[in-house]
Symmetry: C2
Subunit: 287 residues, 2 copies
Amino acid sequence: MDLYHVLTDDEGRLSDMDRKLAQLVLQDVDFATGSSISELAERAGVSPPSVTRFCRRVGCSGFSDFKVQLARMTYVGLRYLRPEVPTSTPEEVAEDILTKAQNALFHLHQQLDPRLLNEAAQILRAADFILAFGSGGNSSMISSELQNRLFRLGCNIHNSSDRAMDLMLAAGAVEGTVAIVSSMTGRDLDLVRCLELMRQRGVPTIALTQSGSPVARAAGLTIPIDLPEGRNIFRPTSTRYAYLAVVDMLANLVAYADRPRAIAVLRRIKEELVRSRDGDDRQLLGD
Amino acid sequence: MDLYHVLTDDEGRLSDMDRKLAQLVLQDVDFATGSSISELAERAGVSPPSVTRFCRRVGCSGFSDFKVQLARMTYVGLRYLRPEVPTSTPEEVAEDILTKAQNALFHLHQQLDPRLLNEAAQILRAADFILAFGSGGNSSMISSELQNRLFRLGCNIHNSSDRAMDLMLAAGAVEGTVAIVSSMTGRDLDLVRCLELMRQRGVPTIALTQSGSPVARAAGLTIPIDLPEGRNIFRPTSTRYAYLAVVDMLANLVAYADRPRAIAVLRRIKEELVRSRDGDDRQLLGD
DNA sequence: CCGATTCCGGAAATTAATTTTCACCCAACG
DNA sequence: CGTTGGGTGAAAATTAATTTCCGGAATCGG
């Protein structure tokens, strides 16, 4: 399924010739997708049958299928293969950012476990009160986004990006509270402390973070978001798209868990908005 | 080049049969990319040569090239074609959200004018002080994100999501100020008022909004973000990804406009962060 | 309304590409 | 040193794509 990983041969499954081909293909994906089997074979210095065999070994049904898979992979992964393209013109910057964002979403898709997501949504749904923590430019955006999305669904929620405040909130959490935290590095020790405090007191905790990190270990339920960091492609900047998508998903699932309530609240908010504007009702359809 | 638009036949350039084929292809891209020319021809009820001719007419060199182009296009646009998949299971919700987000990015890519982007970045770069406005759950995220990204690059910037405050800030803006506003609907009349106030006073204004909207008309420079709203696919929820990407691009371009300054500021911030954490230096590499 | 012309699509033939078969070589191992 | 297994390329076979050519339908002019 994941052609890219097969081609990079992480497991060493490929023979010498296969590796030569894989390298050639990765080096110039456009050529590979555009050429015929014999052109590719010639450039690689092998025979056409070898190319066919190669395609089979990497999991495709034939050369034609290989090209399609390759093309499908590239759109998302092109920059990933040649990461250090210097980006300086506005076109390049735009392309680069979009590709990285799409890459982040793509990888999220590959690793996401919907059951965990759903479990988290059910916990949030059942909460009397939700605390959303996350500090630093990136995670604070996520926690405020959680607040923004969930209050519309009838959840009582407060978000905080203030570490000192977080600790107090955590220490003072009463029964019925649920905490959801975000940390891209997973190494925010104040946050870990908050999670520990709350777990001791029986407050369910959900973390959006790197798996295996201190924050992940301290949380009751972790939704792991692990984007490859190789070659500095997945910096927080692009990782945010994945986090944001997870928030979107959680909000959707919470909404679906109790549609009537969500619809009722959304409608009230919408009415209020329409009243304060020039009849524009699009702003809030959000979900 | 842009296969998707040719296939949707916006210009009515295609013949009846071509349209039939285009529709079939769009309906089931997976089948089209996976099948042979005769399979596709049979399912469409046409002859293989017609398929070849069709491929030529839509700008490909042949059927094989067509499949590759299609595969390249698809990954991003797939769900757009079958939008009303009812989403209820966690898997479907996850898939749906990711696809919509990728769609939004895809469309942004298609319509974005990098020159405008660069122009905006240069204006921001030259500003003594930047005001970032945007209210409501979505645009307030964007304005706070602008603040978060640009202050790291050495820009003096303040963001506000408070309409009353916005008006005061606009009225009081001194020379050297630049305003950048975000409005997904473009119908925020308070924002329009702010823009008018500032333009009168010679304060350059940049808007991220729908083209042709009141906000767009009131702004000095508009970076249009028009995502198709048909069939409710591009609700604000997914449009945010596009807005966020534009912020990313602007931040990048501002940074590149004066690398030394950006690097110096980033380094200072990073040092501070590392000191306050357990040596984790990844959080801020942002760009 | 009729005939000619043009455009378009399909059948068959042609051509090109891919895949299979088969024979060979090299390396590893008995 | 021979044998066996894995892998390779040449050639053949097969399959797929494309071109050619012809026929039919629509259109326009008479």
